[in-house]
Each structure stands twice: as structure tokens, then as C-alpha cells.
């Protein structure tokens, strides 16, 4: 079995001891790699009822099966743990070089358990594994930490770390590597709860390849396919926000001012077609990505002078822009930079600020309480100011630092009505009232409201994808089985480590030949989708075991009760009947109970114990 190291490294921070265990082909056939490996470690490693901040929680990390090999966009690494935000098994995928480096060090996956008694960092250099003192790193930001560690260990080490938000157990804290983030579900806080500031890796071993010539030929073939695609030109010029204008004008589903509106009329200057030519000084890419959507965005004058970030991504243009009513792109960039440095997920952080701004609009929160003028008209200053308070847990920022669900529980006064989330996670940049299947996927996502567990925005916004055509985004009918299938599809992507922006090029049918060139193992399309189904069912079964069932999946009141007020999706919402119809269809398609619990038959069929 080429392509895999066949080893998993386990580090217990309580004892400081590490151990390795081996796996064979049967493990690969069940879980594939990346997300599959990471989910398996959490699923089997975390005892029932464990608090996310308990030492018994498992923080897992694994590079996808393509990770470390020259397959364009195939350098994604999966992190997983029990999430403090959702109390579910949550994974978060990043485009950092830490996954491939772990493989070069000799391990396909890393399992971190226990809790260090003082701030620590993990140093791995092949067989050498150390838990070192991190007292000098504590309190430092996500750029200072790698700089200090590279000075100590050499410029070629790879560093994943948390910022101050993770140290302070913010439930929206992320993990950073190379200015890329595993953003969602608060996994940075799990690291913080273990007193783990950073993971540093240098790997020097060969990664073996079954058929090197075939792999290079395939890599070149896909390279040509990318370069010929329109999206290559668009991503390279404008980044992931390229379609922001279209989403607003032609689809009317860009959540604005905490989802009170769905078209951001003041969007001109946050549209990449405006800012790319004015602020972008260079393209940036994840490891192994030859289709770069990352942009070095630099502000060279004015009150936000000096800002330099890898961004701004589409989701962030919404979360720190539209949903905060913030039309100042330099302010969005500064807030994005603060989120990165302090180590907070830009989606959750921005949606939480937008929530606070609506509470301010309604008089539920005053300027005196907030310490910041949260008027929509003051967004340019208010958003970065509030982000800074949140990341440092200062003043009102302390109340907002755990996301909208916890903030609403603390603020009360009817604020729950304006908290937009499912399962405790803030939603991404798609107003699902005008894309109902995507609304279903917000509910069924095992880690809370997410656009990438099913990626269902693509089929609904375009009207066709893969084997489907003529998809009506305003209809709730037939969406259950489609969302279930797409979830399985996406689990495969996160397990091979391919970027989801490549899913239209490979679909599933093209993956077996790449896998075979790397590993020598043969898979069929159906076998891969079965692995995806297994991974999703493990997450679903874990969540049901933790008591997170259908009652906790439901959409927030705004989506069920307030129709979209203007634009091409005007008048649409997801009714309770439509929500229940979609959920019932979904449970049937999954062979889960109507409460959202995988049935014993399904678990047996998939070999899940």
C-alpha cells in the first residue's frame, strides 16, 4: 500500500508521552484518509458525555489521501474534535502545509489527548516527538507564534497554532497554519483547553507513489483542465468573492444586516471587481494548489494602513461586510486581519457582531453596555473594534466571544429571536429562504449551519450539478435524498484532501484513477460514496449519542417566519411544513429514525461499531 505511512501518532499531553500504532489496507478501505481518519479517531476516542473542554476530548488531525502529492488543489488537512460550540463531532478543513508535513514525518494522522499542566507546544521531527514549554508563546498572535518557532527550529518547519481567542476558550476560535484557518466549530478552543498553543512539524521521509509516471501525467491533465476553465481565470483574478454581485442581483440571497435583508445595496466596494485591482498585490495559494483563489490584500494608506491579509474570502465579505452592514472594504480587511491574528473564525465572529448590531438597532443593547457604537452607520469602526474586544474577551466582547447562541442566553430580553444559527453554529453567506435544500443542509450538517458539508448552494444556485438538472431552489420537494447524497460526496472530498472548489472537475468518477496512481488501491465510485456515507453516519451517531437530535437541528425563527423583503427572492421563506417535509425525506433517505438517529440496521450495513 503506497501513498500512506500506515501509522498514527498519539500524544497524551497529560503525561507528555507519545505512541504510534499501525493500520493496514482495511482501515483505508473504511475511512480513506483526511476527514475519515480524523472522524474515526474522535468517534472511537471520545467517551460519551465528555465536555468539549475536558482533557478526554480528542483533537485529531489528518492529511487527505492526496495530501503531499502533486495533485492540484489536493493539499487539504482535516481537524476534528467534539465541538464546544455545537457539542457535536465537528471537523474543520484547512489548506495548510501541516498535513503533508505530518506525512513526511511518518504519520497519516495525529491524535492529541489529555491536557498539559502549563502552556505547551508539540514538536515533531520524524520519530522525535516532544512536548515543549510555550510560556513565551502564550498571548502571542498567529503570526508572531510561527515566526518565533521558525527562528527556534528553522525556517522550513510547519506550524499550526491558536491565537489569544483559543487560549481564552472562545467557542468560535480557529486553528491557523500559513494564514489559512480551520475556522469552524471552535476547534481552536479545544486546543486552548489542552494548553496547547502550537504544533510544529518537520518531516524528512519519502512519500512513496505506486505509479509516479501516471501520477504526473494525471496531474498535468487536470492542470490543463483547470487552466481551461472560466473559474480558473475568475478565482485567480478575483478570489472566491467573484460571484458576490451575481448572488445579490441575480439570486437575491446575500444575507444583509443580520439576515433582515437579502440584498446588500451598498455592496459596490466590497465586490472583488472593485477591490481586486486596487488592493491585491499578489496571489496566494494553499499547499499544492495550482488554482489559487487566495489574494494578498494590502491597505497602504488611511486609518487601516498596514493591513495585509490572505483574503478577502466570499464568506468574510458577508460576515464582516454585508451582515454587519459594512460597506467599507478596508474595514472588512482589518476585521479579517484581527480575526486571523486573534484566531477567530471570520464567519462566526462577523455574524455575531451583526447580531449585536441588530440588538443595538432594536434597543436591546445600548452603546453604554456594548462600549462601542453599534449603529449600522458606524459599521466601518464598530466591526473591527468589536472583533478586537471579542478576541481578547474584553467588556461586551466577552459576552459575544462564544457566538450568537451563548450571547443570546446571556443577554436574553428576547434577543434569541435574532440569533441566527443551527446547532449553535453561525451560518455562512447564503440566505437559505431562497434556496431551500441548502436550508435543509444547514440543519443536517453535523457541525451546525454550514455551506460545505453538502455544498448544496452550487446545485441550487446554478440549477444543475453532477447527475441532476432542472433543480428548483424555491422548492422543498425531493431535496432530502439529494442533500444526503451530497453530504456523502463531500465526505469523500475531505477524505482525499481535495479542495471543494475542484468538485466540478473531478466529481467522484475521476477520483479512483488518481487514488490508484498514488496508492495502487482500486476503488469504484460507489465504494468511495459508501465511505462518505460511513463517515457521515459516524458523525450522526456520535451526535445522537450526545443527545443532539432533530429537535436541535431546526432552523432559526427568522428563516421560518420572516419572508425575504426585497430582491429577486422576495417573499420566500422556509415554512415549518416545508422544513418538516425536507427533514422527513432526509431521514428516510438516510434510513435514520425521524428523530435523526442512525438505525441499528444502517450502522450494521456500514460496519460502524
Amino acid at each position: 500500500m503506497k501513498g500512506y505511512t500506515g501509522k498514527i501518532l498519539k500524544i497524551d499531553l497529560t503525561t507528555g508521552k507519545s505512541s504510534t500504532r499501525t493500520f493496514d489496507e482495511s482501515h483505508v478501505r473504511k475511512y480513506l484518509g483526511g476527514q475519515g481518519f480524523a472522524v474515526e479517531l474522535v468517534y472511537h476516542g471520545v467517551p460519551k458525555g465528555t465536555d468539549a473542554f475536558d482533557a478526554k476530548n480528542v483533537l485529531a488531525m489528518a492529511g487527505g489521501a492526496f495530501d503531499g502529492f502533486p495533485i492540484g488543489t489536493g493539499g487539504k488537512v482535516a481537524w476534528a474534535a467534539k465541538s464546544p460550540a455545537t457539542n457535536t463531532l465537528a471537523e474543520s478543513i484547512m489548506g495548510g502545509s501541516i498535513g503533508p508535513e505530518l506525512k513526511h514525518a511518518g504519520y497519516d494522522a495525529l491524535e492529541v489527548v489529555g491536557k498539559a499542566d502549563a502552556p505547551s507546544y508539540i514538536f515533531i521531527e520524524d520519530e522525535r516527538v516532544e512536548v515543549n514549554d510555550a510560556s513565551d508563546l502564550w498571548g502571542k498572535d498567529t503570526r508572531e507564534v510561527p515566526e518565533m518557532l521558525k527562528k527556534r527550529h528553522g525556517w522550513d518547519v510547519k506550524v499550526a497554532c491558536i491565537g489569544v481567542a483559543g487560549e481564552k476558550l472562545s467557542k468560535i476560535a480557529c486553528i491557523d497554519c500559513d494564514d489559512r484557518q480551520a475556522g469552524r466549530a471552535g476547534l481552536g478552543a479545544v486546543m486552548g483547553s489542552k494548553n496547547l498553543k502550537a504544533i510544529v512539524i518537520r518531516g524528512t521521509n519519502d512519500l512513496t507513489v505506486h505509479d509516479p509516471k501516471k501520477l504526473l501525467a494525471l496531474a498535468l491533465q487536470y492542470q490543463k483542465i483547470y487552466e481551461a476553465a472560466g473559474s480558473w481565470v475568475e478565482d485567480t483574478k478575483y478570489g472566491t468573492g467573484e460571484f458576490l454581485g451575481w448572488i445579490n442581483k441575480d439570486r437575491g440571497v446575500f444575507p444583509t444586516r443580520n439576515w433582515q435583508e437579502s440584498v446588500f445595496n451598498e455592496r459596490e466596494k466590497i465586490d472583488p471587481y472593485y477591490w481586486a485591482t486596487r488592493y491585491v498585490t499578489k496571489n496566494k495559494a494553499c499547499f499544492a494548489c495550482t488554482k489559487p483563489c487566495g489574494k494578498l490584500f494590502e491597505v497602504k494608506e488611511g486609518k487601516f494602513k498596514g493591513v495585509a491579509i490572505d483574503g478577502i474570502e466570499y464568506e468574510t465579505l458577508y460576515s464582516l461586510g454585508g451582515t454587519c452592514g459594512n460597506s467599507d472594504v478596508e474595514s472588512v480587511a482589518r476585521a479579517n486581519e484581527l480575526c486571523d491574528l486573534l484566531g477567530m473564525d471570520t464567519i462566526s465572529a462577523g455574524v455575531t457582531v451583526g447580531f449585536a448590531m441588530e440588538l443595538f438597532q432594536r434597543g436591546i443593547v445600548t452603546e453604554e453596555e456594548a462600549g462601542v457604537n453599534l449603529a449600522w452607520s458606524n459599521a466601518s469602526d464598530a466591526v473591527p473594534q468589536m472583533i478586537e474586544l471579542m478576541g481578547n474577551r474584553k467588556g461586551f466582547g466577552d459576552i459575544l466571544a462564544d457566538g450568537v447562541k451563548v450571547a443570546a442566553q446571556k443577554i436574553r430580553k428576547g434577543s434569541e429571536r435574532y440569533a441566527i444559527h443551527t446547532k449553535g453554529m453561525e451560518p455562512p453567506a447564503y440566505d437559505v429562504r431562497g434556496m431551500k435544500g441548502h436550508g435543509l443542509s444547514f440543519m443536517t450538517s453535523t457541525r451546525g449551519a454550514c455551506h460545505l458539508r453538502a455544498g448544496f448552494y452550487a446545485p441550487e444556485l446554478v440549477g444543475k450539478f453532477w447527475k441532476w438538472e432542472g433543480i428548483d431552489r424555491f422548492s422543498a420537494v425531493g431535496k432530502g435524498p439529494m442533500v444526503a447524497t451530497m453530504e456523502n460526496f463531500m465526505c469523500v472530498y475531505d477524505s482525499v484532501g481535495l479542495c471543494k472548489f475542484s468538485r466540478g472537475f473531478y466529481l467522484i468518477a475521476k477520483l479512483p484513477e488518481v487514488l490508484e496512481a498514488i496508492t495502487g488501491l482500486k476503488f469504484t465510485e460507489d465504494e468511495l460514496l459508501k465511505i462518505g456515507e460511513r463517515i457521515h453516519n459516524m458523525k450522526g451517531n456520535f451526535n445522537a449519542r450526545e443527545g443532539v437530535t432533530r429537535k436541535d437541528w431546526l432552523l432559526p425563527p427568522r428563516i421560518l417566519e420572516d419572508p425575504i423583503p426585497e430582491g429577486v427572492a422576495k417573499g420566500h421563506k422556509i415554512s415549518v411544513e416545508e422544513m418538516n417535509l425536507m427533514l422527513d425525506d432526509y431521514m428516510k433517505a438516510r434510513n435514520w429514525t425521524s428523530d435523526g438517529v442512525p438505525t441499528p440496521e444502517k450502522l450494521k450495513e456500514l460496519g460502524i461499531d
Partner: protein, 149 residues
Amino acid sequence: MVKMLVPYPENCTGCRFCEMACSIYHEGVVNHADARLQVHRRNVKIDFPSVCTHCTACGKECCMLHCPVEAIKKKDGVVYVDQDECTACGACVEVCPFGVMRMEEKAFKCDLCGGDPTCVKFCPMKAIVYEEPKREKHDQVKKLLEEEG
């Protein structure tokens, strides 16, 4: 004029695809230490490729000059290590200002893939271009490397 690998740091995204492709092409495995070039990702602002200049931009820090047994030779503009004569002393690795002279049992280095460089084929961003030598681009990389110490 013999064409050379010319680095364009401003175009480099830091993806390191060229390193992987180089390693697989020459060695059949992925190991960044086997790659005949290096990509440096220093911080959010700086990524750059470091490539062999084949004696066009190394000046006094030239591997040919420093090889005590004259095992490093030049033919048709391409600098190569004569594997029969190399004693693996490491002097060339020590002196190479671009950090791209490699050593395992013997020294080895970029051979321009016989005139069709793999790294160039796999860089859609044109961060490495196969063209007439441009001294100033190599000097730009040398300066970036010096900053890293």
C-alpha cells in the same frame, strides 16, 4: 543563448507544487529534500522559488569553483555533477547561494530535465519561467534568502 530557469517571486503563490513534481519526476517519490529547487513561504507577504542558475548568477559562490576535485562540470550551458568523480565532500552544498545543491550518496542538482523543465510545466502562475537568463531576478531571490540567514 541557452535558456535557464528564471524565478519571479512576485508570481509565486507558495503552493510548492513544483517541488513535488520535481521530486517525483527525478526520484519517483515525494521528498522536498530531493527537489532540485525550493519554495520559501516566509509569511503572508513573501513566497518565492529558489532555482539553480547554472552558473549564470552565482558569482564567487559557484559550486564549480569550490569543488576540490573538479567533479562539477558544464556542458552546453548546463552545470552537472560527474557522479564518478564526486567524493560527496559537501563543499558545493555549503557554498550554493540558492540552497539547491543536494546531497545523498553523491551530490546532485537541477539538470533542466533535459530541456523540458518539469517545474515550469506545473507552474501556471509563471513564477518559474524557462527563458534567457535574467541576472536581476536571481539577485532578487538571493537577497530574499540572505534575509532568512
